[in-house]
């Protein structure tokens, strides 16, 4: 009897599994078409010397060897990391500060918070176009404002020395509100008991921040760091619209180089190799950051 029941239930389970597959099939098809196939095809293209308008030729790892010896490509890596560092570090500091401010109660807090997060809602290309006009060394409003307070005119994105920090400034302006929102969410979830105990013990505001708030919101900060790092690494629209990788190659990040290879030079084989290398870099950084986040959880 027991054996008969087991056979019956096994038969029923088998037919249910067959039904489950049909429900999963659409999602599998989409994932295959949108993620798996493009990845496999990109890997395949990276092994070919293929320029649009010419026949492709299988060359194995030659594209990767060319990247390893290309001074122009190699110079994009530190540049990308520099831009990413500025675009992550500054929003984190400023976002943390802003979150602390907006965590307090004061009149018109809601309205001011709404204004503060407005840059996040704007289209990056539109922002870039406006900033391009503002950065004009002779006609831009920023230099005009600087001269009003006696500061010399700056070259902003028109100098190889200042282009990366200037572009990072635009990123900071747009994405600091995102960090603020993440940290604000973290602050709202913190328990109040440690603060009550600290106040009873006579701790100062700074001590409460340093020994209570900061360690507790560190996991949230790490989430913000991870998100900002991935976004900053693949930042394209701001850089392309404002400086197009110039002056010269002073703001040519990996993404800009990739775009140039694929869509200006039509070297899709070489560009695919860049994609693979770039993916490895992003993956490596993400793993490091996730590991760091795991170590910093206060309630693990």
């Amino acid at each position: 009897m027991a054996l008969a029941n087991r056979v019956m239930s096994r038969k029923k389970g088998y037919s249910r599994q067959g039904v489950y597959v049909w429900f999963m099939a659409p999602a599998i098809v989409v994932i295959l078409a949108v993620i798996i196939f493009p990845w496999i095809f990109t890997l395949w293209m990276s092994l070919n010397d293929w320029r649009i308008g010419m026949q492709s030729e299988f060359v194995g790892l030659d594209n990767f060897r060319a990247l390893a010896t290309s001074s122009r490509f190699l110079s994009t890596i530190p540049r990308t990391l520099y831009f990413t560092f500025l675009s992550v570090f500054l929003p984190v500091i400023l976002g943390l500060f802003a979150a602390e401010v907006f965590h307090q109660k004061f009149p018109l807090r809601g309205l001011l918070r709404g204004i503060y997060i407005a840059p996040m809602m704007a289209t990056p290309v539109a922002i870039a176009l406006v900033f391009t006009m503002m950065f004009h060394p002779q006609l831009g409003v920023l230099n005009y404002l600087l001269t009003l307070v006696g500061i010399p005119k700056q070259l902003w994105v028109y100098s190889a020395d200042t282009v990366i920090p200037t572009l990072a400034f635009v990123e900071v302006w747009q994405w600091t509100p995102l960090v603020m929102l993440i940290v604000l969410g973290g602050l709202a979830s913190l328990p109040s008991e440690p603060y009550e105990s600290a106040m009873i013990d006579g701790a100062s505001q700074w001590q409460m921040f340093r020994y209570i708030t900061f360690p507790l919101i560190l996991p949230f900060l790490m989430i913000a760091v991870i998100l900002r790092t991935i976004d900053a690494l693949k930042s394209f629209d701001i850089i392309y619209v404002i400086s197009q990788g110039g002056p010269g190659t002073a703001s040519e990040t990996i993404n800009l180089y990739l775009y140039l290879q694929a869509f200006a030079f039509f070297q899709v084989g070489h560009a695919s190799a860049v994609v693979v290398v770039f993916f490895v870099i992003i993956l490596a950084l993400s793993i490091i950051l996730l590991f760091a986040r795991g170590r910093l959880r206060w309630n693990r």
């Binding site: 649009i52 060394p137 002779q138 005119k153 028109y158 100098s159 400086s243 110039g246 002056p247 010269g248």
Partner: protein, 463 residues
């Protein structure tokens, strides 16, 4: 004989012939009485009458075509008068006008895929001609030109200058497109600044340097000169200047002349002007930044294409209305040539509506549209008749000086970029070198580095 040599020599010589022919035609065109008696239609009347009987604008009525244009003054004109074409032919047009760079990417990807969403394509000969020709991406329109039932009797292929025909013709004789705009590099000069310091308009390259030196006054926010400094965009300025040494950056045998003494001297000329007499930040300037600065009266001279003149004469945005001298490219150390570029329109080889698409190309390049191009200051029409069109000359949005500059440049026009497949890499690699020179890098060293980097790319592309 080597086909590649034929191709380049063909283009170069056609440009020279075209310059002379255009000059003769334009001079004739400026005498209205002479134009009427020299009209080709008079001698072709019997054929034209017969052709009128069989040619029908409504032949493809009811069809719908897609036109991939570019967002520029010519593209704007085509969209503005699109209804005229639709009423004339009964063909519905869906016109797309993306920005230039995005349009070039879109068409390359679609052509490569073997299927295009457009039937008509607007493209730049100086950047894409070799790529299109090598891959036969656009249809050979000779079958239409030789078919009287497919050419409007008053369209007149022979109204095109030799330069216009040469741009549209491949080395193997295919006519891939119809040229609808030629642009020449000229020197825009602020007459007021020149007059204030008693400086004559430049006639030679040395005059340009001398004028820049005399007029440069950064304390008053006046700069002697500006040209494109942004990589890729700046290369065409340098290659235009190089023509003054009677030299092309790449010769007809695909040899790079970019490390020659002339090329280095030209690079130093470019470097001197940009480093010492241009506004700070010029290394990041494209034509639009230069145009803005010139329009605000901050530049004494600006060297660029003549198609950018219209905003300078717009009182709403310009402070130099009526103060601009449109100077034909000055004479270089060895020669006087005006760097020339060209745009055209072709029928996609993958189109299933080639007939209707050809009708659109024909309309877009007809005498009336070309006259409108001239009137709008959008560039130099390759049709000779445009310069004699009284209505166009009356409704010019730019001064007559500009037309004189066009005519003068037409006499000395010469292709400024090499007709090769990897022209974008050429512009990019040498553009970086030129930008570095503005920052003080040694011209010879930068050119050598760029040449070494580009040479294998060029060799591989022409295999």
């Amino acid at each position: 004989m080597n086909n590649k040599m034929n191709r380049r020599e063909f283009i170069k010589r056609s440009a020279l012939i075209g310059a002379g022919t255009a000059a003769a035609s334009l001079l004739n065109a400026c005498a209205p009485a002479a134009t009427a008696t020299q009209a080709p239609a008079a001698t072709a009347a019997p054929a034209a009458t017969a052709a009128k009987a069989v040619f029908d604008w409504k032949r493809f009525k009811g069809e719908k075509i897609e036109a991939l244009l570019i967002k520029n003054t010519v593209g704007d004109l085509l969209v503005k008068y699109q209804k005229e074409f639709e009423d004339l032919t009964g063909i519905t047009v869906g016109a797309d006008t993306p920005a230039e760079q995005q349009q070039r990417q879109k068409l390359a990807v679609e052509f490569q895929s073997g299927q295009t969403s457009f039937d008509v394509v607007y493209y730049s000969f100086h950047v894409q001609k070799r790529l299109f020709g090598k891959n036969k991406w656009v249809a050979d329109v000779r079958e239409y030109l030789n078919d009287p039932t497919m050419v409007a009797p008053d369209w007149d292929w022979n109204d095109f200058s030799a330069a216009g025909k040469a741009w549209a013709t491949e080395a193997d004789g295919r006519i891939d497109a119809v040229c609808n705009k030629i642009d020449y590099f000229i020197l825009y000069c602020n007459k007021e600044l020149f007059a204030a310091k008693g400086v004559a308009l430049p006639k030679t390259y040395d005059d340009v340097v001398a004028a820049a030196q005399k007029l440069h006054d950064p304390a008053k926010n006046i700069f002697g000169f500006a040209g494109r400094g942004l990589k890729n965009a700046n290369t065409i300025l340098w290659t235009s200047m190089l023509l003054g040494w009677d030299m092309d950056a790449i010769d007809s045998k695909l040899n790079l002349n970019t490390t020659s003494a002339e090329a280095v001297e030209c690079a130093k000329f470019y470097q001197n002007l940009q480093k010492n007499y241009a506004p700070p930040g010029v290394a990041g300037f494209n034509w639009n930044e230069c145009q803005s600065a010139f329009a605000q009266g901050q530049l004494a001279m600006w060297w660029d294409g003549l198609g950018f003149a219209t905003p300078l004469e717009d009182p709403k945005t310009s402070k130099v209305v009526g103060k601009v001298a449109y100077v034909v490219t000055p004479k270089g150390p060895k020669a006087q040539w005006a760097g020339m570029t060209g745009d055209g329109m072709g029928v996609s080889s993958f189109s299933k509506k080639k007939g209707a698409a050809w009708y659109y190309c024909m309309w877009a390049s007809n005498k009336q549209m070309q006259a409108r191009t001239l009137a709008a200051g959008a560039g130099s029409p390759p049709r000779n008749s445009a310069y004699a069109d009284a209505d166009a000359l009356k409704s010019l949005v730019v001064p007559k000086d500009w037309v004189d500059s066009v005519i003068g440049s037409g006499k000395i026009g010469r292709a400024t970029l090499p007709v090769i497949v990897p022209v974008t890499e050429f512009r990019d690699i040498f553009g970086v070198a030129l930008t570095n020179m503005i920052g003080g890098a040694d011209a010879a060293t930068e050119l050598k580095k760029a040449t070494d980097e580009f040479k294998p790319i060029l060799e591989k592309s022409e295999k």
